[in-house]
């Protein structure tokens, strides 16, 4: 029974030497533990387990010893004995805790889970060991624990276990610094665990109580305590030493291992090298064998690929081999073709000739060649050129035959096509042998001539040639045969319808490489139409030539560059030079014809670039005259030009005269208004008259002055005289106005004058619808007169006639102009179909200023009469036979 006698705790005290020793032990145990961790890690298999057990044992003792020492360091005033089983139990716990720790840190990996469980179990173990130790105490006291300190001591134990595990895991490797580091760590751990222990110790408080049961309890004597220490130290030392021995051994083993590995590697490398060279050799050998195989294959391929069907066999006409081409064409297999089997595929018709040829060749030992048809696998026959050559041995004996078959189907087809072409061509084609024998005529021949081939072959063709042409044809043919030169001849050929047609025969030779003629090829074409066309052309040329030489117009051919290439005789006559002269003298004809450079340039441009048309221009001919030309220029298809021209000088003159006459008419009309005339006269005359009168009056006044001024009077009279003369001049001028200069007398052809006047009045006649008739005597004598004046008179009469008929609407307006011989010269009559002259006015007609026309001058007839009378003729009128008036005047003839 335990009774509590007091409630004050027993006060213990620490023996600091013992404490220090316990701490040292703790450190040593820690060091050992770290060291052993490395060993366990390095060990493999059962050895590992041994190390683990041994290690745990050593470390466990160490820890327990520390704990025990620590407890022994604590002296209580009461005697303390220790329950031995419990003590041993605590030792077991310590060993267990160490084992756990060592196990955990020696594994490959130490994760959080392992660390935590490890720290807890280890820490728990250590703390547990401690409290077991306390529980082993047998003393007259009751142990009370401070929950707080207990907890702290547990926490510390766990904490330092945690630290210890981490450090131990980290220091497993054997490096240079491992030793010192282990030592440092061991110190930390040792101190830590001691702290945990003393904290635990502090947690316990002993309250005096009745003496405990001392069964199984022992008290520890100092010797015992030292003994524990020594044993512990020994154990730890042993552990450490063995550890280091093991380490060294391991290191040595490692080194040996490495060495061994190096040797092994070297050996392996050597073996590798040998292996490689062996392999190369093998590969080469294989390649060589491959090459041999390939060339064998190629050869077979060649034999089978040659686009020839090849067969061969012994010298008995049989065949024992055919290449792939042969076999694939015929469809026969190697077995089927053996012996004479190959003959099966030759066309029945060609078989005999072939075999004969082969037999001959065999007999002569020469190659054979034959065109045969052979049946292909598809059943179709094609043309082949079958050839065979013998293989002879050194003594000339035939050992084997080699044959080839070349497909000539296409060639045969081409040949047929060519034949078709030759027969279809629209020409008569033929060929001949070098001796002149004509051996081929195409179909055209036969159709054209209506004969058969037999009729022509050889020399029989001569039968279709016209007899008259045959000789020269044959002659020429013989010559060509002899000389080898191309043959050409014309001859008439009898056509199928019997008509002889002119044909052109041509043949050319075909020579071989040596230059010998091997064949003649020729054609014949029908040229009858061409000949006819040529003849026609010749005729046309002749016609043209005649025209060219005789036409009364100038023709000139200009080349594209404007130079004169050809002129006709009329051109040469007009211009004055012949083309030959121009060329001989190297005349610049353009310069001669066109003296003006600008004009010349225009002419030249026209010759070069004109595209056609009519033009008029002036040309200077050889004798220096300038003539007017009208020409048409035509461009020819080859770029040259053709000019056709005429000398129109005369016509131009006539036109000029016409223009002048028209101008005169205009002038006469202008001047001839009475009003204007009167005004002109009045003004012109009145001026000097007024001056005369005024000067006269003035002089009278001067004379009647007082005294008379004789000087002034004299001057005035002088002026009078002058002015009077001026007046006379004016009159003269007026007359001149009405009359164009003095009469110019010429020998005139009256009919020509009449013609000119009718042209002048042409407009008026046409406008008034007057029908003009002329009755001009052919052989009138020439008259002497002023052309202009006579024209004036006649024009006036005709205009009067037109005027007289202008009111006539019920009958045609007819004007008749007649010229006839008169005893003195020529009589001209102008007959109109107007109303005629009023008898009452008949007497006044010729008076000046007499007119019946509202706008009339009244000058025409009076002037006309004076002109005619000035010429020595007479002007009068008579009544017309049915209507109108006939004005007549005579003009004396020129003598």
């Amino acid at each position: 029974m335990i009774s509590i006698s007091a409630n004050t705790a027993l006060v213990g005290s620490y023996n600091y030497g013992e404490v220090a020793r316990s701490v040292l032990i703790a450190v040593a145990a820690s060091y050992a533990g770290l060291d052993l961790a490395g060993r366990v890690t390095a060990a493999r298999g059962p050895v590992r387990l041994a190390w683990l057990s041994g290690g745990a044992f050593a470390m466990g003792i160490g820890i327990w010893a520390m704990q025990f020492k620590g407890m022994l360091a604590f002296g209580l005033p009461v005697p303390v004995a220790y329950h031995l089983p419990t003590v041993l139990a605590s030792l077991v716990v310590a060993i267990f805790a160490s084992a756990v720790a060592l196990y955990i840190v020696s594994r490959q990996k130490m994760g959080p889970v392992e660390v935590l469980t490890g720290s807890v179990s280890m820490g728990g173990g250590i703390a547990g060991m401690h409290y077991l130790g306390i529980a082993a105490m047998r003393l007259p006291a009751v142990t009370r624990f401070s929950p707080l300190l207990v907890t702290i001591s547990f926490l510390l134990a766990i904490l330092f276990s945690f630290i210890a595990l981490l450090i131990a895991f980290g220091l497993r490797e054997e490096t240079r610094w491992t030793g010192p580091r282990r030592l440092g760590s061991a110190i930390v751990m040792g101190v830590g665990f001691s702290a945990a222990h003393y904290t635990g110790m502090a947690a316990a408080s002993f309250l005096p109580a009745s003496p405990p049961s001392l069964s199984h309890a022992v008290s520890i004597s100092p010797l015992g305590s030292y003994g524990v220490v020594i044993v512990t130290v020994i154990v730890l030392m042993a552990a450490i030493v063995t550890s280091s021995v093991d380490r060294r051994a391991r290191a040595e083993i490692q080194r040996l291992n490495q060495d061994l590995e190096r040797r092994v590697a070297e050996r392996t490398l050597q073996l590798e090298t040998v292996n490689q060279s062996l392999r190369k050799e093998i590969a080469e050998r294989e390649r060589a064998e491959d090459a041999v195989r390939r060339s064998e294959d190629q050869l077979r391929l060649v034999i089978d690929t040659i686009p020839q069907q090849i067969m061969s066999g012994p010298n008995d006409g049989t065949v024992d081999f055919a290449n792939a081409q042969w076999r694939s064409y015929t469809g026969l297999s190697q077995e089927e073709l053996q012996g004479k089997g190959w003959q099966r595929i030759v066309h029945p018709d060609d078989r005999e000739p072939l075999l004969k040829a082969v037999e001959e060749s065999r007999a002569q030992g020469k190659p054979y060649e034959q065109e045969v048809r052979r049946r292909g696998a598809d059943g179709q026959y094609r043309w082949f050129l079958a050839r065979g050559v013998p293989l002879k041995d050194s003594e000339g004996r035939i050992v084997r035959w080699y044959g080839s078959n070349t497909d000539i189907q296409d060639r045969k087809e081409t040949e047929n096509r060519i034949r078709l072409v030759i027969d279809t061509a629209p020409a008569m084609l033929h060929s001949a042998r070098p001796d002149g024998y004509l051996d081929f005529f195409n179909r055209r021949w036969l159709e054209y001539l209506g004969v058969s081939l037999d009729d022509l072959l050889g020399w029989r063709w001569t039968g279709v040639i016209h007899p008259d042409d045959l000789a020269q044809l044959v002659d020429k043919w013989q010559t060509s045969l002899a000389t080898g030169r191309p043959f050409e001849a014309e001859a008439r050929l009898r056509r199928a319808d019997g008509e002889y047609r002119l044909t052109l025969h041509r043949k050319v030779p075909l020579r071989d490489e040596a230059g010998n003629v091997v064949k003649w090829y020729g054609s014949v074409i029908d040229i009858e139409d061409r000949k006819r066309a040529e003849d026609e052309l010749k005729r046309q040329k002749e016609v043209f030539q005649k025209i060219f030489e005789n036409i009364p117009a100038m023709i000139a051919f200009f080349g594209p560059d404007g130079d004169i290439e050809l002129v006709n005789p009329e051109w040469e006559r007009t211009i004055g030079w012949t083309l030959q002269e121009i060329r001989e003298r190297n005349l610049d004809i353009f310069a001669e014809l066109y003296p003006d450079p600008q004009y010349r340039q225009i002419a030249r441009d026209y010759a070069v670039s004109s595209t056609g048309g009519r033009t008029e221009f002036k040309v200077r001919v050889r004798d220096g005259r300038v003539i007017d030309m009208a020409a048409n220029v035509v461009q020819l298809s080859d770029g040259s030009r053709l000019g056709i021209g005429r000398d129109i000088t005369q016509r131009k003159r006539t036109e000029a005269a016409l223009r002048e006459a028209q101008e005169n008419l205009a002038r006469v009309t202008r001047v001839a208004t009475l009003g204007e005339l009167a005004a002109a006269i009045a003004h012109e005359v009145n001026q000097p008259l007024a001056a005369v009168v005024t000067n006269g009056s003035a002089s009278l006044r001067w004379l009647s002055g007082q005294p008379p001024n004789l000087e002034e009077a004299r001057q005035a009279i002088e002026r009078t005289v002058r002015e009077a003369n001026r007046a006379s001049d004016v009159i003269g001028r007026i007359r001149a106005l009405l009359q164009k200069g003095p009469p110019q007398m010429d020998r005139l052809d009256v009919n020509a004058v009449i013609g000119e006047v009718l042209t002048l009045a042409g407009n008026e006649l046409q406008r008034d619808g007057v029908v003009v008739q002329t009755d001009l005597a052919p052989d009138l004598p020439k008259v002497l007169g002023d052309r202009i004046q006579l024209q004036q008179v006649l024009l006036n009469l005709i205009l009067n006639a037109i005027e007289a008929m202008s009111t006539i609407t019920d009958r045609p307006r007819e004007l008749l102009v007649r010229s006839s011989k008169d005893p003195d010269g020529v009589l001209i009559q102008v007959h109109d179909s107007g109303a005629g002259v009023d008898p009452g006015q008949a007497g006044h007609i010729f008076e000046p200023f007499f007119t019946t026309k509202p706008q009339g001058i009244g000058m025409g007839l009076s002037v006309g009469r004076s002109i005619v009378e000035a010429h020595g003729g007479r002007l009068w009128f008579t009544r017309g036979s049915s209507h109108g008036v006939v004005f007549q005047f005579t003009v004396p003839k020129a003598d």
Partner: protein, 208 residues
């Protein structure tokens, strides 16, 4: 004032006519000046003397009638005697209506021309005198005071002094004074004379 001797202008493009006319006109003792074109005539300085113009109708460029019109528009009132080579009635009528003194056709009788010249000169003399008078009267009019100028037309229209005074808002006496003053200034001795003067210078109311 001393009068300058009269002068006759001759304008004709024909030199012989000009010379003949000069001789003729001088033979009766008149001064004469010759011109060949209207330009010449217009540019010449006309002397201050009675004058007239002997003008040919047919002139190159501007005709005589055109010149007549031009002179009229320029208010050059010189009397014109036309001479012409034609006897164109419409032309002569036009010329006369436009104020020509005479229209003679060549050849004309010397006496006809001289007579025409006399008439023309006389007309010109009268016009000049008339102009001189009018100018003088205008001068005198200028010398009137505004008031007198106001009174004048009223007096001339026959109003009594009393009426005049009423008209202008003054006394009769004042009017009387104005009247006597203006009469003196104008140089009129009597009312009728004053009225004649007023007519001459175109005072409104003077023809009432």
């Amino acid at each position: 004032m001393a009068e300058q001797p009269p002068i006759v202008f001759v304008l004709d493009d024909d030199a012989s006519i000009r010379d003949a006319l000069r001789s003729l006109i001088r033979s009766v003792g008149l001064r004469v000046e010759l011109f060949a074109s209207p330009r010449e005539f217009l540019e010449a300085k006309r002397p201050d003397a009675p004058s007239c113009l002997v003008l040919d109708v047919r002139l190159p460029g501007e005709s005589g009638l055109d010149l007549q019109r031009e002179l009229a528009e320029a208010d050059i009132q010189i009397p014109i005697i036309f001479i012409t080579g034609h006897g164109d009635i419409p032309m002569s009528v036009r010329a006369m209506k436009a104020g020509a003194v005479e229209f003679l056709t060549k050849p004309f009788r010397d006496q006809d021309l001289l007579d025409g010249i006399q008439v023309a000169l006389e007309r010109d003399r009268v016009r000049r005198k008339h102009q001189a008078e009018t100018a003088m009267l205008r001068e005198r009019l200028e010398s009137l005071t505004p008031r007198e100028r106001e009174v004048l037309p009223l007096v001339v229209s026959g109003l009594l002094n009393k009426q005049v005074a009423a008209e202008i808002g003054t006394t009769e006496a004042t009017v009387k004074v104005h009247r006597s003053q203006l009469m003196k200034k104008m140089g009129a001795d009597s009312l009728p004379e004053l009225v004649r003067m007023a007519e001459k210078i175109g005072i409104p109311g003077s023809n009432r």
